[in-house]
Symmetry: C2
Subunit: 173 residues, 2 copies
Amino acid sequence: MRNSPFMPEFKHAYSPFKNHQHSQCIHHALCSAEKLCKENGFRLTNVRKRVLELIWESHQALGAYAILEQLGQEGVKPAPPTVYRALDFLLDAGLVHRINSLNAYIGCNHPKDHHHGSYFLICQHCRIVAEIHDQAIDEEISALAKREAFIVCERALEISGICQRCQENGHAG
Amino acid sequence: MRNSPFMPEFKHAYSPFKNHQHSQCIHHALCSAEKLCKENGFRLTNVRKRVLELIWESHQALGAYAILEQLGQEGVKPAPPTVYRALDFLLDAGLVHRINSLNAYIGCNHPKDHHHGSYFLICQHCRIVAEIHDQAIDEEISALAKREAFIVCERALEISGICQRCQENGHAG
DNA sequence: ATTGTAATGTTATAATATAACACTTTATAA
DNA sequence: TTATAAAGTGTTATATTATAACATTACAAT
Ligand SMILES: [Zn+2]
Ligand SMILES: [Zn+2]
Ligand SMILES: [Zn+2]
Ligand SMILES: [Zn+2]
């Protein structure tokens, strides 16, 4: 599916640092979110869906209070708990990730198979966050945990630096 | 030095999950901090040293306001900026690390060679944090970054789970 | 002693997140 | 269909983490 010839637009959907059809990308994200919720009996209510849309509007991590501002500009501005509850739902459903080093949230590009960790490349200049899946790192982490007799529940790898596009635009390190 | 027969107590100083002579461990940490500061012309003032000592009193990550409380119990309680400035100094000097997923701080067990990343095993039960150095993970991260043409500035890998001792005490996941 | 710099004290406030309780909507099932 | 329970949302207040701004003090180097 991911590499299906019927969906060539999504070829780079998982590499936001490269050019991609973002309207397609966000549409795809929202559709698969709806699908996932329907399949699992999760209720993707209006607030939750709107928060997810706002998060997907760019590939930059979005803070809870930025989301609040956005919601405020399209009607009545809700109180913080509204946004945090929506975020909690989306996190639980695996539809968004929290970037701890930024106190901010990013859409998940694989809202299904959370078998192992996902890792993040964070551009310090343009603030775009790319979610990466890397089996080699998965395995090294597992090996490390095994050596230490440590049972792994969560992995959070946040790699900060400069993305290719920003390097090309002269923002190298 | 690290494996010197004259200091067998430090054999496990870098694995707080295993039993170790913690009085030796903390003493060693403070001594090498003093040494590092002297060598580099950093000023390890009273506040800074006391904050570092408090952080090293356990291998659990300590929050800034917990540090404030402790300082308050041994004299006049300072205001937050005092602690945050001490923490900034210690972070810059490489003497402590910030654990993003906990908003808390932990002593660095190798305050010198920050050539590559350090990674953290965080026990969700006892809250002890172990700093790990793993060349294989370093290399996989470098390989990943190279594939994505990403210039790495900082790496933060925080692995949460259950440590061996807590497993043995029946707190397994 | 003088002077510039680094460190600390102090007050106020920003930014992020949650507790507690009332109310409304939705689902379920007599 | 209406009663009922559960889930979701609104609202107010507050907790937690962190920083801005400016005054004062300690220190180092002339
Ligand atoms: Zn996109
Ligand atoms: Zn960039
Ligand atoms: Zn110790
Ligand atoms: Zn433990």
